[in-house]
Symmetry: C5
Subunit: 296 residues, 5 copies
């Protein structure tokens, strides 16, 4: 088993450490773990993600949910942050998501354009910024260039940087797909090599073998796979994503395996808000129970 890295080991500047400490030890379970609520679906997927649960379309409602559920932070785009975060400013940490795109045009080899700056995140009182990096696309030249500017600003302002490290593109599709162990493992390592402070990945699916490169073409248990991903992320704190809504039990199992492997926490959106308010809080309570077992 891998020991989760402590804040002291990460080579952090004072500003980054102060903000990460606030997220990990002043909010949520205050035990060094974290659960984040991402809410950029209105841009990424459009309002249809809220159709089944109309109150989910109201950003104010969601921020309140993050507060009631004891989340360590809410990740939103700048427009919602400007208009809704003020009401709860300081009560729950803000992760300003700096890039995003609609899913209207096909995005075979996507790039997520920046729509806000780290400086704006500072002005809004954010404790971290988020950047979606599409690992493996031919657009990586422009993506890395755009990312570099964000990372430099994050260094300059002492702002923790969470990378949504998403394998995408035709090459990934041909090499096992976005959730295969190869893709997730490479994505975690890429974020670490490129200087992310935290990295958000999907839970790897080692049974997806078709097309994956050697030496990924052999048996890995889910536990082995997530352990390898944590190892690839090394001193980059790992957050495991919920992805599309799935059965609660499967989801809780992923959460357990991830924390056991050394992940720092979870980042769950649709799984949390695409249900009734009470049901959301019930699920979050279960997730918090798991996190409570892995203090650091």
């Amino acid at each position: 088993m891998i020991t989760r890295p402590s804040l002291d080991q990460l080579g952090l500047s004072a500003g980054k450490k102060a903000r990460l400490y606030r997220i990990l030890h002043d909010h949520g379970l205050r035990n060094g773990t974290a659960i984040f609520l991402p809410y950029d679906h209105g841009l990424e997927h459009g309002p249809r993600d809220f159709f089944g649960h109309p109150e989910a379309s109201d950003p104010g409602h969601i921020i309140k949910l993050a507060l009631e559920g004891g989340f360590n932070g809410i990740a939103i785009q700048v427009g919602l942050a400007r208009k809704f975060y003020w009401d709860y400013a300081g009560e729950v940490p803000l992760v300003l998501k700096l890039n995003g795109k609609t899913d209207i045009p096909s995005a075979i080899d996507p790039l997520s354009p920046v729509n806000a700056t780290v400086e704006e995140a500072v002005r809004l009182g954010a404790d971290a910024v988020g950047y979606t990096l599409y690992v493996g696309t031919p657009a990586q030249q422009r993506d890395f260039a755009q990312y570099l500017r964000v990372r430099e600003d994050a260094e300059r302002f002492g702002m923790p940087l969470i990378v949504w490290s998403y394998p995408r593109g035709t090459a990934i599709d041909a090499k096992g797909g976005r959730d295969c162990f190869y893709a997730v493992d490479y994505a975690a390592r890429t974020a670490s090599e490129l200087g992310a402070d935290l990295v958000k990945v999907n839970f790897p699916q080692p049974d997806k073998q078709s097309g994956v490169p050697e030496p990924y073409r052999r048996r890995f248990s889910p536990a082995e796979a997530i352990e390898a991903v944590v190892r690839s992320a090394n001193r980059t704190l790992l957050l495991v994503s919920g992805g599309e809504q799935a059965g609660d039990e499967a989801m809780l199992e992923k959460a357990r395996l991830s924390m056991e492997a050394g992940a720092t926490g979870l980042i769950f959106g649709r799984n949390v808000f695409q249900r009734s308010h009470d049901d959301s809080l019930r699920l979050v309570a279960q997730l918090r129970e798991i996190l409570a077992k892995y203090p650091s």
Copy 2:
């Protein structure tokens, strides 16, 4: 029914609030609603839009019409603003439209290039700036980047930003077209996520069902549709566009439904100026009657 958000709720800087207050409470009906006169057709469509009504080709005539009709603002390109606005400076608010394009080349996946700056808007005494965002095109990468620079300048100068949020492109065409409920709803939300202060949309047509994604493929009344759009715009003030000239009664009905749903106002161009002067004023009077019923 949704309550129209008040200026106090929008997280506005002093400069933005001062200018929006001026537009909404010092002009027009002075009741928190607004009707704008957009006049960028000379660039967007060429002089042919004025052929039927030659006096409509004269920017001075149009600004005078905005004044006489009690509009809350006139939206024009920088060339006309420099040459004609001086004559009426301060009498009617100026919305400087910052981007635009000719319709000569086909624009399957369009982008509207910037031709003026927020700083220039400040210099000209504008009370808001306008930006056309083509939601859903593959050019969204360059569009978002260009938009970000405009939005940052608008924040810096305390200048309200009105986004012309226009669904466009081959993907939109395949998913119901630019006026379908799905497209308009997503466009409203996109403007909100990306930090617009006001958003201009077309009235949604929920009966356009061909190709639209689930869960938009079911019955929505026009009233339900515009209400959902207002909800998607949340704390972004909604302006409903007139679009191409249509029958007066249909247009007045759209205006009524929009205001009832929580829109802040209307933005009507060709419907207003492609008729005789007296007829224009008569129509505007009818629209003002509607607005008068929705003070805030």
Copy 3:
């Protein structure tokens, strides 16, 4: 008939007005009209334009011709301005042409790249700058962006901006061609919307009807056409171009119609210098006779 706008109506800064006053009232006929000598053919077409009249290849000769002919300005590229204008500095106004290209590669959808700056024009003592805008091409995104930077500098330095507003590209070819009334009319309006101080257009040919959009598909006399173009340019001073060499009588007639319609002046190159020195001066004298009838 349209009254030609006076300098007082144009919303000009002091610097722009001072320089335009110098061009229109201190040179040429000093009556508010203007005739310019453009001489960028060496770049745009290559030396072949001078083969029939070898002395035309000598920039010194041409500047002297502009002086002798009583022109209101000479429009040249930066290289020639640096090397030859010094000899006549102050004697005839300099219009520094800021962009240009060779005609060697095919240019189906052209863009004219900038090769000099407004600041350099100031340093060289220019009284105006020129910019070629290719209206109607798919390159309008980059063209407008490039133009914006030029226009901003022109505002900053109080430098009058003359836009060579040239309809071009496959869409224009399909909609009547570069000289049809539709194309010229739209080009004049585009320059006005985008903030040109003066606009150079070709004389419209209303008989070119094939492919032009409604409502241009009907009878317009040349006089009606040029009047409409002047109206579309509104407070942007209109200069009518000579284009390729044509018969003198036809050319003089165009000049007469243009001035009668409210144009501010003419800009004639090959028609002037592709003939003997004496013949050039004789033609210019005839053009001046026409201009003398339209003081302002």
Copy 4:
């Protein structure tokens, strides 16, 4: 035989000389030769390069290996440098690799995007920076532009610049391939012409004759080939790369020939770390024996 250039001959600024002196005379054998450990495989190839030797996935382990093995420097990406170099700062020189890419998408004509700056290298206490230049691709326009900015910063900060000069692209493939003598020779010269301080090349394979241009189509011994490459690099210090793992004897022979020809040193990654710890140290000892014979 060619004499290896001394630091005094290279036209170095004080800062560059100080840092190179530190690398070449304060570390490793302290005799003017060098052996570097490159460790950017996690980004360039993904974690699979470490599968056979799990401890190789741990950056801390690798830096420790560089220290124990008496390397003159370790070349890593910024993320690993930030998180792991602090533990050994000053004990072994840091070469901050400034660009890199994943190998997920096909890269027929590759470009390696920058993900860190020279300024950051200074902040991290690096003694050199590395840049991968893909010589011979159609992307050379953007590559040279990107490289220029790096080189200018390196001049400004007195930071030695090591160019990974890699022949790549369809044209190279057609002209003998990336390892043929023609390709390696041209790449060495290109780095010298473009101002590299050190250049990393693969050992040339003069027997690869298919497609290479005249006059490379004749017999060259490996010794003649590497001598010619050293000559082409002239006053740019040459580092020979290990490339993919090969037999130890072949590798040691390449090292000998390179040093004999006038190379300054070696840069060996997978050959070193894709084996057990003891075996790594044994190999390094053999390489150091060779270097010890070529003091300068």
Copy 5:
């Protein structure tokens, strides 16, 4: 016959005149003519250009040759300038070549990317900078933009700018090829229009008639052709290139015709260094004899 322009006529700033005076009157024959040694072949063609004459691969050897041969300057890339020019600094003028490319990828419509700056040329003590402009390619938009930045810096620092004005691209190939009179004549004029101080062209070949535009399709003697080119360059000093190695007599004849027509000098590379040292000096002596006859 055309009189070669004197430095007084060129509209030069003090800095440009001082440096050109140094080149033309303090070096070489000190009579206002010039012969330059270009040595960028290592980048443009690769080391193969030196295979026949191995000492030609040594930049130190070449600079020494320029000194012994009494050249007015040596044109090299920044890497060689940094590493080798110091040894002879001040003894022979340095022309820093600012752009260049490898010939590995096919370059149907080429662009030569910048790899050094005018500021760096100043720092290195250069007396001029060189820029390759590929006249006639579709890339002229980016080329002109890049060139503008170089020219502006050259103005700012008073640094003479020599344009390698090379007709290239598919359109040129279709219109007579890169050496036809039309191409060379247009290239000379383009450099003059765009503000070059000196222009390097190939000697025109008026017998290449296939495809050239009217009115170039008639008989021109070589003498008439080079005279026309000098006329097109007007106040831009003309340097005639040696091009690929040819017979000595033909080359000397070209030199004679060029100087007789009003060229300022010659720029000969491979013709000079692709022979034995003594033979090089013998040829240079013959060229100097010709230059001696055209003082200014």
